[in-house]
Each structure stands twice: as structure tokens, then as C-alpha cells.
Symmetry: C2
Subunit: 257 residues, 2 copies
């Protein structure tokens, strides 16, 4: 177990747990800094799921393949949307940081199995795209995405301002199969409508962060930070979009002169 | 439901179900073409998970946050590794295609809810990085990764040939929290040891595909193809690596002259 990815992460997060703003990251949600996200996290424990769950609905998929009966166990999950935002004034991407119980649990179990002390709550911090589930009938993916952007990071973006990075990525092809649409938008502080940080109603504690474009490669390569592949994809897609914009502007200005 | 991402995918996959080699993709596993992957898939149905499952172990995570008792339902899943491969002779990336019951189920439910006919089995095809779970104690992530490369796509790669794209991505931060290490390697046909296509023992039916580097953007933008965000990240990371190699070579040759 000591060689597992989770164990490597426990060791590196224990070593770097105090440095919450590596790679030039800055908080953009003054009401929800990392201290708010981690406030009073304690008394972590685990038990088998016995009562029905709104979010984890285990299911058995049965089918025939080449004449054989097969069974594949899976989980029903919601469709979702995600957004990669670039702030043109800061020349930074907008990243969301929150405590993810499932990530903490993986590291907590690994430490337990190795006879090590319980990891600090910061071991459950995750870096992700601003995102949300599609559970509002009658609303388009683009509309839900704009609502999530407003709630989590505080910018007012219209559906028309969204570019599509990928129409249907499947984060968990083996377990849930649920699709996610990934969008991109450019924002600036004139579009700020609220502080961000999630909604009180959902008792969300989310920190909005800016990550300088110049720090993208170092951020992705930092194995001590738990991040989604969707975020890694969004960061590279966004940087490529910026480079293409720059090239177009250079061509236009060289044609003028 | 008709506006859902799954329903969009059902409609677009019904329209394009016969075109299995879009974007210049070519099969690299002659024993396991798409017809083998889809062979005899039928009689799909679903029932609640009642007996214990090796792959889907539902769990309740309990903790306190800011003085409140909280519960988060999750699923225990294996750690895993994934590899993005570039074939220098073909100037193409190596992509894996397989039938994913969980993806098919999402589209099958959407069609059912809309009163539409059952989608074709091809609606469950997924495009992914070559990958595998870390379930062999005592083996490093790099060793397991090389074994998966050999099994799924047939190239003999040594752990020393792997570059790290990202040390700890979490595909499903909400549901499983399980980390995955993503590696990159460059291969050519002199490293081919077998046909690829998965192992008979695991009754895997996997197709290895080459995807031309020049087609990466069109592939990612194609919403009719179900792909993981990890694959989208790997493709952009790999292309960036190739561009950096090219620039270094140009600099070296210009210094020489």
C-alpha cells in the first residue's frame, strides 16, 4: 500500500499542506478563502451505504456479448456542465477549489492501512473546473453553465459568450458513464456580479482561484495537487485558444502595416 | 429529457453510427477491429445492484464541517494508470476504443424516457487513453502502465521511457476520488510485440486506434464521440510535447549552421 498513488499524495500533502497558494494562485472569493472551505472539518469516518442515496444509485447492467451473459456494475449519476474561464485583466484562468470527501477518503484509507496518522483535512482539497449538475428540466446546458459560473466564481456570462471545448466528455466511463459538456469563456472584472464561493442554500464551500496562464504547466505537473483531468484539459485548451487569438491579432496588425 | 446531453448523443450517434473511422483513425489491432468489439451485443437491461460488487462498493462518508454533521455518499474504486502514446512513424496518437456498458446505459435510459427505439450498441463506444487499474501489490504505477500498454495496444515500453503528464488526476472527484497517474511515451513499430486488443483472460474487447496528430482538434470537438477528459488532456499534452521537441531541434540545427 505504501507505493500507492494515494500514499504518495498523503506524504506530499503532509509536506506541503501549509502552502495553499502555490503557482501564483490567488483567491477571488473573499468570503470563501481556503480557511472557510476547511473550517471545522473533523471526525471523519466511513460506513457501508445502507439507505438509498440521491447521488449514488448502484445499478447492475446486464447484456449479452458474443453469446455470453455479462454483468457490469455501475452507478447512475447526473449529467453535468463545466466551464474554463480566462480572466483577461489578470491573464489567469479561473479554477475552483473545494473539499471533496471521496478524495479525502482515499487518502484517509491509505494512511490507515499504512498505520500512519489521519491526514489533515487539506488532503481532501480538489482543484476543478467550475461545474454543476444538469438537474433543472427545461434549461439548456449553456444556461445551467452560466448559472454555475455566477454561483461559484461570481461572473455574469451569457450563453452566447460560451465556446464549446468538448460536447460530451465522460469523466467516469467505467462507473457512471455520465456526460459532461465543457465550455470556455473569457471574462473580466466588469462582469463580476457577486463574490462567488457557492450558494449557502446548498451549503457549498467553494474557493474561486486565479491561476496565471504562465503557471499552467507547473500546476499540472504538481503531483501534490488533486485535480480533475477535465481541469487539465481545460487549461491546455484555454491556453491554445489564447495563442490562436494572439496569432490572429498579429497577422491582422501586420496586414495593416 | 429531449434536451439532455445523452439525448443529443443518441441522435448524433444514430446519424453517424456507420462511420467508425472518422478523423483519419485507423485500427492497429487487426484481431480486434470495431466489429469484434461490438460482436453480439444485445439484450441490454438493468436492475438495482443487490449483491456485493467487486467494482462498485457504495460507501457513506461521515464527517463534521463547521459544527454540522455531514454525509457524502461515494463509491470505492481502484487507483489506476493511463498512457498517452505517440507513434512517431505514423505521426499519430494511440487511442483505445471499447464498449462501455455505463455509457450505453445513459443513452439507453434517455432513449427509453423519450419513447425512442433502443440505440444501436455503437452508442456505447468510448474513446479513452490506454489504461488499467492498480491492483497488483508490489508493482509500481510505471510497471503496471507498461503492462497495460503491451496488453491493450501491443507496444513494449519500459518504465524508463515514460514521461509523467500528471501525477494524480482524479477522474471522478465527487463519486470515487480515486487517483490516476497519466504517462506519455513515444513508440514506433519496432517496439510492437503483439497485436494488442486486450487480454482474453479478462474477456476484454478493445480496439487500438491511431489518430493523426493533425486531427486532434476535430476529434476533440466532435460531440458525437464519447471520450474521457483524460484522453482530451493527453492529446493536447502530447501535441504540446511534440511542438516543444520540434522547436528544440530547430534551435539546435540553427546553432549548428
Amino acid at each position: 500500500m505504501a507505493g500507492s498513488l494515494a500514499m504518495r499524495a498523503v506524504q506530499s500533502s503532509a509536506a506541503s499542506q501549509e502552502d495553499f497558494y502555490k503557482h501564483g494562485m490567488r483567491s477571488l472569493s473573499p468570503d470563501s478563502p481556503v480557511s472557510h472551505v476547511l473550517e471545522g472539518l473533523c471526525h471523519f469516518r466511513e460506513q457501508p451505504l445502507t439507505s438509498p442515496s440521491q447521488f449514488v444509485r448502484p445499478t447492475s447492467l446486464l447484456f449479452q456479448q458474443a453469446g455470453r451473459e455479462r454483468r457490469w456494475d455501475a452507478v447512475q449519476a447526473h449529467e453535468s456542465v463545466a466551464a474554463m474561464l480566462h480572466n483577461s485583466q489578470l491573464d489567469a484562468f479561473i479554477v475552483v477549489r473545494q473539499f471533496r470527501p471521496a478524495i479525502y477518503a482515499v487518502r484517509w484509507r491509505a494512511a490507515k492501512a499504512a498505520g500512519l496518522p489521519e491526514p489533515p483535512p487539506a488532503a481532501g482539497l480538489s482543484y476543478e473546473l467550475c461545474a454543476g449538475i444538469l438537474d433543472k428540466p427545461g434549461k439548456s446546458a449553456e444556461q445551467v453553465c452560466c448559472e454555475e459560473i455566477l454561483e461559484e466564481v461570481g461572473y455574469r456570462v451569457s450563453p452566447q459568450q460560451l465556446a464549446c471545448c468538448a460536447g460530451s466528455v465522460i469523466s467516469s466511463a467505467g462507473v457512471t458513464g455520465a456526460p459532461q459538456a465543457v465550455f470556455f469563456a473569457q471574462v473580466d472584472e466588469s462582469m463580476r456580479a457577486r463574490a462567488g464561493g457557492g450558494t449557502m442554500a446548498a451549503s457549498e464551500r467553494v474557493e474561486a482561484l486565479s491561476l496565471p496562464v504562465a503557471a499552467v504547466d507547473a500546476f499540472i505537473a504538481d503531483a501534490s495537487l488533486a485535480k480533475t483531468p477535465g481541469l487539465c484539459f481545460g487549461l491546455l485548451w484555454g491556453r491554445q485558444w489564447l495563442q490562436q487569438q494572439q496569432q490572429q491579432q498579429q497577422q491582422q496588425s501586420s496586414q495593416r502595416t
